[in-house]
């Protein structure tokens, strides 16, 4: 009896692990993340990836943060009906066919189409605080990341802790810009209003920041002429 139980347990473990690995096994004709990274700009790419956050939908186009266990893929203005957009919940596996492009340093997939597949994966935030001033940071572009123990700095000469729009020319509901430092260096962070609008907790949290606050943050490692994280969570310590 014991032998049977042991065999059954072994079988169940084997099946469980097989199930785990199959969820990350790429289908025929699909690139690994390494192959995607090596692909030339403007070339056709096919990837299997998992939705991590939805930024926007408009005019049958969706902009989505996605990631697999090896890296991230930013899908810009991907063809998507409103009905399908609703199906793109966090973790949803999709097969994406499009073209690799770069805009102001942000590597992305454009002119893409997709199909939903079976499988789910939700990325854990990778702590990149120590990489902020290092060249290797770009290897994690578009990934879900965290920043720990940073200090809120004045966003401009007026001493404000945040700005509506990059220079303060906006209003409530627009993107929020704020600065935080670590290790003597200051970096700019953004609450992208399409990704996290003014009704979200992170939008309210940033509006409540004070210069000098110690904060932990999570977000996506977006790029615009350098690193420009799109923050989705801020916790004051």
């Amino acid at each position: 009896m014991k032998k049977i139980i042991v065999v059954l347990l072994a079988l169940s473990f084997a099946l469980a692990f097989a199930g785990c690995s199959s969820s990350d096994t790429k289908s025929e004709g699909v690139m690994t993340h390494a192959e995607y990274t090596a692909a030339a700009l403007d070339s056709k790419v096919v990837v299997e990836t998992y939705v991590q956050a939805k930024q926007s939908w408009w005019d049958n186009k969706a902009t989505v943060y996605t990631q697999d266990k090896d890296g991230a893929y930013f899908l810009y203005n991907m063809a998507c009906s409103e009905e399908d957009y609703a199906k793109l919940t966090t973790g949803t596996k999709i097969k994406v066919t499009g073209y690799k492009a770069e805009w102001a340093g942000e590597v992305e997939i454009i002119d893409a189409t997709f199909e939903i597949e079976k499988g789910s994966f939700v990325a854990k935030a990778l702590d990149v605080t120590a990489m902020l001033d290092k060249a290797e940071l770009i290897d994690h572009q578009n990934e879900f990341v965290s920043f720990k123990d940073m200090t809120v700095e004045a966003a401009d000469d007026s001493g404000a802790a945040f700005l509506y729009s990059w220079d303060g020319s906006g209003q409530d509901g627009d993107d929020l810009y704020f600065k935080a430092s670590v290790g003597g260096k200051t970096y700019t962070f953004t609450v992208e209003s399409y990704l996290c609008d003014k009704t979200t907790n992170v939008y309210a949290a940033v509006k409540a920041l004070n210069v000098g606050d110690k904060i932990d943050m999570e977000g996506f490692l977006y790029w615009y002429e350098g690193v420009n994280p799109h923050i989705t969570s801020v916790k004051v310590k």
């Binding site: 403007d42 805009w103 102001a104 729009s165 020319s169 906006g170 002429e225 350098g226």
Partner: protein
Amino acid sequence: MLLAALMLLLAGGCHGSRGLEPFVMPEEFDLSLRHEIVFWAKNDTNKNQTRIYEQAIADFEKLYPNIDVNLRPYTDYGRIYNDVITNIATGTTPNVCITYPDHIATYLTGVNVVLPLDGLLEDERYGLGGSMLKYDSPSFAEVMPQFMAECRIDGHYYAVPFMRSTEACYVNKTYVEKLGYTLPEVLTWDFVWEVAEAAMAKDGSGNYAVNGQDIMIPFIYKSTDNMMIQMLRQYGGGYATAEGEVLIFNDTTRELLYTVAEHAESRAFSTFKISSYPANFLNAGQCIFAVDSTAGATWMGTDAPLSDISADKLVRFETAVMTVPQVDPAAPQMISQGPSVCVFNKSDQQEVLASWLFAQYLLTDGVQTAYSETEGYVPVTATAQNSAEYRDYLARGGEDLSEHYEVKIKAARLLLDNIGNTFVTPVYNGSASLRDAAGQMIEEVTKSVRRQETVDDEYIEQLYGRVNALYRLDQKNAAGGGAERERLGPLPQTAKLLLAGLAAIWAFIALYAGITQVKKWKNRHI
């Protein structure tokens, strides 16, 4: 009771199609009535512009203490357009709005939504230069006629111009000369293409010889809509008639697309949508010809007051501000663009008049000069253009790197010197879609050749068909068609309830009538 309910519902249903009553000028503006005016204003992501709007509002409210103006700043014309369309459907448009005439043409599909200004402009008391105004307003004749004409749609004025700009080619003169060329007095397409291709030469280490970097896109165009429109105008190709007939799918367009494809394939040409802001590449020494609005001049050049790239990426070079490339340098042609102001109709005529008073205030010299000096804009009135303050401002170009930033003032001068060489495209319901389509063809051809696709006659024919269908250019009043219905989304719940109510009432009436008929029939036959 049922009939009364039905009439009410029917009246409610008709209200949307009939719209508001046309505006009738009140006997006088009643200063004892309070008004809250909503002003949707566009800025170029420039806090100085927001500040000037706020100052203008504060000054206006001092003159008219019974009017409160609530500012809602936007940084994107497209967003204003979409929000106005949405708010027309719900009857919640702003009172005053910065917009483009192309967009107004779509707003006009709503009945009495946008205020025709013909009567107001000429009103002796409250019109331009009116006797009852509490500020010095320019007369009708003092608003630049070319700019005023751009606000005329279907024979009526539906807006007043607020600021005007055109496009400029910001040139890295240092690199042009390094490549062995001398800038001509007027840029031509042939010159730009030739220098752009020359800049693609690489050195022994694989970097571009002209800048020693691994990135060089010699020619970047911000607005490909404008690029196609201006090329067609200069080459004599068709675009559209005033009546809205689309002429763009012609042989001139085909030839222009082949030229674009040739230089996109060599990577000597790219666009904002494909690569990013021309200013960022120009200032990093990675672009030689950057075409953008004169209203983007403060971003252009090594010493630009505004910059999105880090200081360590800036490269020092001399910036020349030139007209966009031309076919015939002796007869330059360039687009006129920039914000206009429209007023939305409301049921309260005093409120509408209050809105007009504020809209008109934006044409006063103080507002005109202050706003135009934030960027390479030009005031739309002769009084502001000729004012001592503005003349002094122009004369001081290069004195500093902020208010008198040389590139910005040169950009403004470029338009002032070429007002007679500007043009606009026909405005009609759907003209905004045609603009998008014009640019889309350049974007698609550029992307295709970068992806090693063949651009030939068959490709162009397919592109024409695709763009025609995508922008519904084969349908009259394209902007009011399916695309907008799609954007407006499903019927609101109130409308669904209304329709359901109507259906239920009609069903009840039909049932009642049926039962009555049956009773009558029975009575007759018993």
